[in-house]
């Protein structure tokens, strides 16, 4: 009896594996799409639209559904300090010359202060984006009201599909993809240096990433492929999650930059570097900026090496805005190829809130979302202009990326996720105000 059940389990497993290999892995490796993902996404969109309509119908109020709220929950006055204070003073009974000081001025700062207590531009970037309508994932609806039987049934069905069908499938794919990468690159590393070796290693990398992309049910659209980063350049992109690497590497080979980790990540990193040159640093080396810059420069100078992929924000942001770019990579003097990545939050939230979730629970969440849908725009290459310094160049690239991706361009530092603001910023506002008052005297 026992033998029979084991046999049947084995048979089922074999059938499962061959289905997976045949229908998903092989086409993925050759970059061929059987159209399953597209059909799936279409069906998903229809279902979500239906669900939203049902929810709306269940509402008593007739307010129209608001669009995404990327800029927060309160209306902000966009006037400059001078305009606002000018308005306040004009309504004052006695007309005053510009150089005087009145109590009204304090109101302007008071209101700005309270407004930033209610909602500020920076802290909202480090939590997931809020959606205007529920996408049938429990995790995105805290106030799970019982809406109607049908919506609940569909939601239950969704849970079943996601956890019992999609999740095992995706885990299988991910395991296959990663082991293919490790084994393949180790094997290639044994070959002597030659063009063939480079070609094979590129192939292995790309196929592995394609399998991983299938493991996330990712539907990626690349725009402006003619601007694809070339060898000897640096590719910069906005950072939302570790999945960005999979998304970008699906379309070409990059040299990664990063710290060597221990454990599984370390194994993957070490095997990758055997087949094609990546730039991995020890933790101690990261502190030494000159050493880092030198290694990047050397890599870039060698025109046979793949373009370097860097995320200048330094931390994961929630994909509604682009924060300050660190100037290190813009100082090297290579051509910069900016890339904008924008995820569609409707199908799954790709943002990694590293304070809240560790890597494993994050990956599980990714694999139990509906899908990852994103757009990648390749922007025309930029380089340092005469008389421009690295900071200004970084800001220029940042604005271009923000504009293309439809993200808010912020000059705050992503490091504020973990640290506090410097005192020097407070003095800036004071200087501005004092020049207003005293400047005219």
């Amino acid at each position: 009896m026992e033998g029979a059940s084991w046999d049947s389990a084995l048979v089922v497993f074999e059938v499962w594996l061959s289905v997976v290999l045949g229908l998903i892995v092989l086409p993925a490796m050759f970059g061929v799409s059987l159209g399953f993902t597209d059909l799936y996404i279409k069906a998903l969109v229809k279902t979500l639209e239906w669900a939203t309509l049902r929810i709306q119908r269940g509402q008593k109020e007739e307010d129209a559904l608001p669009a995404h709220l990327p800029n927060g929950i309160i209306e902000k006055d966009d006037g400059s300090m001078e305009e606002e204070i000018g308005k306040l003073r004009r309504s004052h009974p006695k007309s005053l010359a510009g150089g005087d000081f009145t109590l009204c001025d304090a109101f302007y700062f008071c209101k700005k202060g309270i407004a930033s207590i209610v909602d500020d531009q920076v802290t909202q970037r480090f939590t997931s984006e809020e959606l205007a309508s529920w996408n049938l994932l429990t995790r995105t609806n805290n106030n799970f009201h019982y809406i109607s039987v049908r919506v609940t049934i569909i939601w239950g069905l969704g849970v079943f599909i996601r956890y019992c069908i999609l999740l095992p499938l995706r885990i299988t794919l991910a395991v296959l993809g990663l082991s293919w990468l490790v084994i393949g690159t180790t094997l290639v590393g044994l070959l002597p240096h030659s063009n063939v070796k480079t070609w094979i290693s590129d192939l292995i990398h790309v196929t592995c990433y394609r399998i991983c992309a299938r493991a996330l049910s990712a539907r990626i659209r690349y725009h402006n492929k003619e601007n694809h980063p070339k060898k000897g350049g640096i590719c910069v992109a906005n950072h939302t999650s570790p999945i960005d690497i999979v998304i970008l590497a699906n379309d070409g080979c990059y040299a990664m930059v990063g710290q060597i980790h221990g454990g599984l990540m370390g194994v993957i990193q070490r095997s990758m570097v055997r087949s094609c040159p990546h730039v991995w640093f020890e933790r101690s080396e990261m502190k030494d900026r000159h050493a880092v810059a030198k290694r990047l420069k050397d890599h870039v100078a060698d025109k046979t090496k793949q373009p370097i992929l860097i995320f200048p924000e330094g931390t994961c942001i929630n994909n509604t805005s682009v924060m300050m770019f660190k100037k290190g990579s813009f100082d090297i003097g290579a051509t910069i190829y900016p890339v904008a990545i924008k995820y569609d939050p409707q199908f799954g939230d790709a943002f990694w809130n590293s304070g809240k979730y560790n890597m494993v629970s994050y990956l599980l969440r990714m694999m139990t979302s509906w899908a990852i849908v994103c757009n990648v725009w390749y922007l025309p290459p930029m380089s340092l202009q005469d008389g421009e310094d690295a900071v200004h160049f970084a800001n220029r690239v940042k604005s271009a990326i923000a504009r293309q991706g439809g993200l808010v361009d912020l000059s705050w530092d992503g490091g504020l996720k973990r640290e506090k603001v410097k005192e020097s910023y407070k003095e800036e506002q004071q200087k501005m105000y004092s020049s207003m008052i005293v400047g005219q005297d």
């Binding site: 005087d100 920076v122 939590t127 005293v438």
Partner: protein, 218 residues
């Protein structure tokens, strides 16, 4: 999904809505913000305000933060300050900035205006003696101007003195040479700011958000 917990919370929110004049939705949003600022604890302390980067820009930041811990703003006619506040007090202080409804009588509008001005007055009158003395006024001016190299404390003092003189001339008319102007009382304060449209300048407009279809990303 914690439904029993949310009904008592909803009940509390309803009571708060009636007392402070915010709508239920706005209270929910502010509650979420409160929890975010306190890192999921129940009380807010002064240090929690340091996490708000936009606020550090503000020169009168310390006064604004103090206003949250000032008992005079809690509506119970007490004085003094506290070390930490709960959501109710947070909301009460915020209600000074709530948007005014369109359909209010003149009397109600006046009352709201007085409340807002009282809030501002308390912010400047630190020792709660009912007047903003010259020292307190100077302090405000110094905070707003910076240790800008060209402005010494003498200049800041001069500006404060000039402004006080002006207030005195507006409220008290011509003073005899030996009369001493003690400070700006609340009535003087009201008189000076009679023309200024506090109601429109001093409120936060909440965008209209439908929370049942809105979700909190997690």
């Amino acid at each position: 999904m914690g439904s029993s917990q949310s009904t008592t919370e909803e009940h509390n929110f309803q009571l708060l809505a009636d007392r402070t004049g915010f709508s239920l939705e706005q209270i929910r949003i502010l509650h979420k913000r409160f929890k975010h600022l306190t890192h999921d604890k129940d009380t807010l302390r002064r240090e929690d305000f340091e996490d708000i980067s936009d606020l550090t820009f503000n020169p009168i930041r310390s006064q604004i933060v103090e206003a949250f811990f000032d008992k005079r703003n809690f509506g119970h006619n007490e004085v003094g300050s506290v070390e930490e506040i709960g959501f109710e007090e947070f909301l009460t202080v915020m209600s000074h900035f709530r948007p005014t409804g369109q359909h209010l009588t003149e009397e109600e509008k006046d009352k709201i205006r007085q409340e807002k001005l009282r809030f501002l007055f308390n912010m400047h009158d630190k020792d709660n003696d009912g007047t903003i003395t010259l020292d307190e006024y100077r302090h405000v001016v110094e905070e707003l101007l910076s240790s800008y190299p060209e402005i010494e404390s003498e200049t800041a003092k001069a500006i404060a003195d000039a402004a006080m003189l002006e207030v005195a001339s507006v409220t008290m008319g011509q003073m005899a040479p030996d009369e001493f102007y003690e400070g700006i009382t609340f009535e003087h304060f009201l008189k000076i700011l009679k023309g200024v449209e506090i109601e429109t300048k001093m409120h936060i407009r909440f965008l209209n958000v439908d929370t049942t279809t809105m979700s909190c990303g997690k």
